[in-house]
Symmetry: C2
């Protein structure tokens, strides 16, 4: 997905280690992905998780769009529960995508 986007655009790399129990995490992750995708400036999202690590990358038109999503009321509530219940640790990196190329078999 997202391979037809023309740089420059922005990416938020979210790397996380989860706590042991689900405690509503799966449902909230789904809800937040759906809500993010309706925000102005949203371009796409990709996610992978294995036993060690989860990486979610969301793509945005501008830094302003990223900032608005960060401060969205429902997202703030989710972030708070994330700190309290779902994550052992996480890193958020806000990036400008400068070049992109793809391969398709």
């Amino acid at each position: 997905m997202s391979e037809t986007l023309q740089p420059p655009y922005y990416a938020v790399i979210f790397t996380s280690q989860r706590t042991e129990e689900d405690k509503g995490y799966g449902k909230m992750a789904e809800t937040m992905e759906e809500l993010a995708s309706t925000q102005p400036g949203f371009l796409g999202i990709e996610s992978a998780r294995d036993a060690r690590l989860g990486i979610t990358v969301s793509y945005w038109e501008s830094l302003e769009a990223i900032e608005k999503w960060k401060n969205h009321t429902a997202h703030i509530i989710a972030q708070q529960r994330g700190k309290e219940e779902w994550y052992k640790n996480y890193i958020v990196r806000v990036c400008k995508v400068e070049r992109a190329y793809s391969f398709e078999k």
Copy 2:
């Protein structure tokens, strides 16, 4: 990992879908990660893969370091086998990390 790095630095987001069989992929991925980590300007690497998607993000001091690693002879051989045998598709995005913050429980 990598949470103490001070932006700006660079990230390469590699998103891929694999073919069905291993065919030496696991061993090569390990070898490439070890080799990347000895390159000048290498800062770190994070990887997650589930049934749908793999995401690997490597971090670098400069665009020059990324370009050199892209053109490293052993890496070019691995890239070629990747196209022939291991990947259905992939996207490479070269990014400048502008801001970063982390949470630790």
